[in-house]
Amino acid sequence: MSAGWIWAAYLVTYGLIFGYVFSLVRRSRRLTRRES
């Protein structure tokens, strides 16, 4: 019963973190690609 909530908490946490990391990677790729 409690497992569901704990899963949700970790999913949201890592979802947000990975989302941010991917956006950073995407933005830097776009910039470095332009220079070449």
């Binding site: 409690s2 497992a3 909530w5 704990i6 949700a8 908490a9 970790y10 949201v12 946490t13 947000l16 973190i17 941010y20 990391v21 950073l24 933005r27 830097s28 910039l31 470095t32 332009r34 220079e35």
Partner: protein
């Protein structure tokens, strides 16, 4: 090569934090739900730290006018938004099974954190609205100074308000931590701190790239075409 060390370390630390959080003993009162608190509390501290860094870097920029300070201030604010969002979401997810409700107005810390979230969003909105780099640095630095003066007051006033209108009894900060749980909390704080540092260095690097690209777009013939500026600084 060295660029990779920090993110790898942070990643390993987060895995360790996850392992410790899941293997630590359940709490007397709230059982397994304490595992959510490890991330919630860690992210809350980091959100405040990130905000502090933004404030300090803002003051640094106003005193020194070096662009590095501005980059750190803005990057830390962006990452602070991330940690604040995690704090708010995990707080709400913790609250539902414990209190029966996602939001409890009696929790001063959650309310203050939500307000701080809005302050951060305002800071980022101000930056987006200012195209000129020098003006953007100055305005956000000034907002940073105003915020660092006001936000403690915001926090204090909400706490004062809460002591009058008592909320529900179990609160994230009222948990009695036995040693094993304290270790789990500290490992999580350490792991997320490393994550903060990794994200900060990456974001500052990106900011430098963005500034270079901007400069390249705006002055294809270099300074020869623009009027001389009264202020120095790249």
């Amino acid at each position: 090569m060295t660029k990779r060390i920090l993110p790898v370390l942070a990643g390993l630390a987060l895995v360790a934090a996850l392992a410790v959080a899941l293997s630590s003993p359940p709490d007397v009162l709230q059982g397994d739900f304490v595992r959510i608190l490890y991330i919630h509390v860690a992210n809350a501290w980091l959100a405040f730290l990130a905000f502090g860094v933004t404030a300090a870097a803002s003051i640094g920029w106003l005193v020194r006018k070096k662009p590095g300070y501005d980059r750190v201030a803005a990057s830390s604010a962006e990452i602070g938004v991330l940690f604040t969002a995690v704090t708010l979401f995990t707080g709400m997810i913790w609250g539902k099974p414990i209190w029966g409700t996602f939001w409890d107005w009696g929790d001063a810390r959650m309310a203050s954190t939500a307000l701080m979230f809005f302050v951060y969003l305002g800071y980022l909105a101000l930056r987006r609205a200012t195209p000129d780099r020098q003006a953007r640095a100055r305005r956000s630095a000034i907002l940073g100074v105003i915020a660092v003066v006001q936000v403690p007051l915001v926090y204090f006033s909400v706490t004062l308000w809460r002591t009058l209108h008592q909320g529900l009894t179990i609160r994230p900060d009222s948990v009695q931590m036995e040693p094993a749980m304290l270790v789990a909390l500290l490992v999580n704080v350490g792991a997320f701190s490393l994550l903060y540092l990794a994200l900060l260095t990456a974001r500052v690097r990106l900011a430098r790239l963005e500034e270079a690209a901007e400069a390249h777009e705006r002055a294809p013939a270099g300074r020869a075409v623009t009027a001389p500026r009264l202020e120095t600084g790249q």
